[in-house]
Symmetry: C2
Subunit: 143 residues, 2 copies
DNA sequence: ATAATATAGTTCATTTAGTGAACTATTCAT
DNA sequence: ATGAATAGTTCACTAAATGAACTATATTAT
């Protein structure tokens, strides 16, 4: 099979899955946060004391985009800013109690939705798939 | 391993890969079209005589979003509209010669970029991965 | 020690992409 | 022949991104 065809198939499938997961998050789970916002919130939850710059690097966007995103999460009371006393330029981000509850609730809901689809896969296939996906993410992040 | 952890890892990796491919398309290949626009253009190329409604279904967005997207591609001279003579409500979309050249060029460029990363994978792993990804896309599209 | 440079984050104007409701035009159904 | 359905557009609005200009700190070099 040609590499070109494989890449085309990859692109089509990846796009569909990405969009379907977003729709799931949007329609089935909550209407008061977007999937981009949830991804950022999730990152802050998993990386306590991270900065805007960290997020910009993780998601591959400019810092001004992160400021706007942070503001939206802050306005919803899900995160807070915390200035570093040693280096006053730096602002650490952390999730509020409300934010922690929110992430937990959303993950549970998302899990129970995705579970339906995962019944089509056996454990072995899931492991192999995630392993390859993480490997791809890793080599692409290194560049 | 817990399903929750697997889903979290999936989300993180998927997000990273999705964004890296977009950055690749944006930085390395062309500055005059977005990856969303390219995805739409690619769909029209592969589905000659498709309609706005087809695209809305494929990408899971509203028809008004498609109208706007189609306008952007039309303004760049990459696609054209073609009204159906039997059912005057329907407008078929097709790619112009310029659009065909553009897709071909972009795919070649994208391929040569992605090729670098794919050297880390053997054929077997790529096939298995794409097979699983397409299966996931399929079961999620069925719902 | 001070001047120049670098870093962290924000603001602002602009573009892209999406929503959903209201609309036009056409076709189908009873 | 009228009423419902379908295809696509327009409009006002929000989210997310860019990049340049900016503020406020830290660091480095002379």
């Amino acid at each position: 099979m040609q590499m070109k065809e494989l890449i085309e198939r990859y692109q089509t499938a990846m796009n569909q899955v990405y969009r379907r997961v977003n729709i799931l998050l949007k329609e089935k789970i909550h209407s008061d946060i977007t999937s981009d916002q949830f991804a950022t919130l999730h990152y802050i939850t998993k990386n306590e004391k991270c900065t805007s710059t960290d997020i910009a690097n993780e998601f591959g966007v400019g810092k001004s985009a992160v400021t706007a995103q942070i503001n939206r999460l802050f306005d919803k009371g899900l995160i807070e800013r915390d200035r570093d006393d040693n280096d006053r330029r730096v602002i650490y981000l952390h999730v509020t109690d409300k934010g922690i509850d929110f992430v937990e609730f959303t993950e549970k809901a998302l899990f129970s939705e995705l579970e339906k689809y995962l019944t089509n896969f056996d454990q072995e296939e899931i492991y192999t798939f995630i392993h390859s996906l993480e490997k791809l993410a890793k080599v692409m992040n290194e560049e």
